[in-house]
Subunit: 254 residues, 2 copies
């Protein structure tokens, strides 16, 4: 039987150590094609490029793996890969491994997850992987190990249409990880604070900073899982309808 066809992308850029770890893991279970941004795209959310043309360039970065760098966002990469690079719809799309967690509300801002959402919209089994460590030289070994296990299950069982997985890894060596937990997205948020500075011409400018605040004390959340040594797996959807609020709204007098 043919090996599954796996599209790998990310948002930290094609030269990030996290994508290398993911590519090496996926090579064990499938035929891998990489289409990833040529520069870091963190915080790009589900941006797409409509006012500029896109470049796509063949690169030799991974042994025995067809790879392309793209000038666009993570969502652009997926769209271009499906339309211009892959010779058929891939069996699996994996995005990451992100340098930094995408648990909780971070799913909204995450380029890593937007690539996976785009894959799910295209009808591809899609997973976003992120490690709870922002550093360039983070250790991705345990994360890559679990990424392979989870990908194998998804390839075997298939996800429900309209859903994808948001997987976050605690920053721990393999032997200290307690296992895997199916979770819900924690109700946490960033409390913003902008640094205010003056440029050499005395005009103000601002840098976005923030503090992550989690007031959700549930033990079924992704935040709880990664803080307590588990790999969190959140089934995620792109139907944003708040179905539970429809009947209430129908009683309002517009």
């Amino acid at each position: 039987m043919d090996k599954p066809l796996i599209l790998v992308t990310n948002d930290d850029g094609i030269t990030a150590p996290g994508i290398e770890a993911l590519v090496n893991g996926m090579k064990k279970i499938g035929n891998v094609v990489v289409v990833a941004p040529d520069s870091p795209q963190s915080g790009m959310g589900h941006a797409i490029t409509i006012n500029n043309p896109l470049r796509l360039e063949h690169v030799h970065l991974f042994e025995e793996v067809e790879a392309y760098q793209c000038s666009g966002t993570p969502a652009d990469c997926v769209k271009l890969a499906v339309d211009k690079v892959m010779h058929r719809t891939p069996d699996l799309l994996v995005s990451g491994i992100n340098h930094g967690s995408n648990s909780s509300i971070n799913v909204i801002y995450s380029g890593t997850m937007s690539a996976a959402v785009e894959g799910a919209i295209e009808g591809i089994n899609s997973i976003g992987f992120s490690l709870n460590n922002y550093k360039f030289d983070a250790d991705f070994e345990a994360a890559a190990h679990y990424a392979v296990k989870i990908s194998e299950q998804v390839l075997k069982k298939g996800l429900e249409p309209g859903t994808l997985l948001n997987v976050n890894f605690p920053d721990l060596p393999l032997e200290e990880i307690k296992g895997l937990k199916i979770c819900r997205q924690a109700r946490a948020k960033w409390v913003e604070e902008f640094y205010e500075r003056e440029d050499p011409y005395h005009r103000k400018y601002y840098w976005l900073t923030g503090k992550f605040v989690n007031k959700d004390h549930g033990e079924d959340t992704d935040e709880w899982a990664i803080q307590n040594g588990f790999v969190s797996v959140v089934p995620t959807q792109f139907d944003l309808t708040a179905h539970h609020f429809i009947s209430e709204l129908n009683t309002w007098e517009f």
Copy 2:
């Protein structure tokens, strides 16, 4: 009693006719502050600016309204407005009126909606408004009329925490609009096609184009509503957890 404090933003940029129509409507029911991008930001999804500083500039564009243009994305505008401009949490955030529909899957790519989502995350009653007409000189009169009615109800009743409204207007004069329908997000998608061209140096580049395909025949969807002369109102949430899929995933052998 004090008039409600209303933050107005958009993604087409602060000089777009759609935001002018919205500001003029909101002036009738509250004290308005505008913080909006200094250039068009369509397709920006929930992008935030983390690698560049942001500029914020006081402008005189709207009569008797405090207004600022910002160099960032729509989500940046909301974050900056809350942290640096508003003197208290606004009672209402309205985003738009967007030139072009944000029904169905467009909610994912929409800068207009990302501003409203950001407001909801901040705990503000938030609404995104979009007109099903991309043209610069579209007629926003009917849309502004309904935007005021809907905003009044939201100010009176308050939305549930974690929810916001995605409102789309059909491109019709007021007397031809059949009313307002509470809807769910249609399961429709864009089928991408990239134009492939060559630059003067014989290097390829690509332009994103696509065809909107709706295979969802439900009459309770936003697409159905705007195609049939109704204003669509979709209660929207930023908890992306596919709660219905959790028990199934718990049976998988990871």
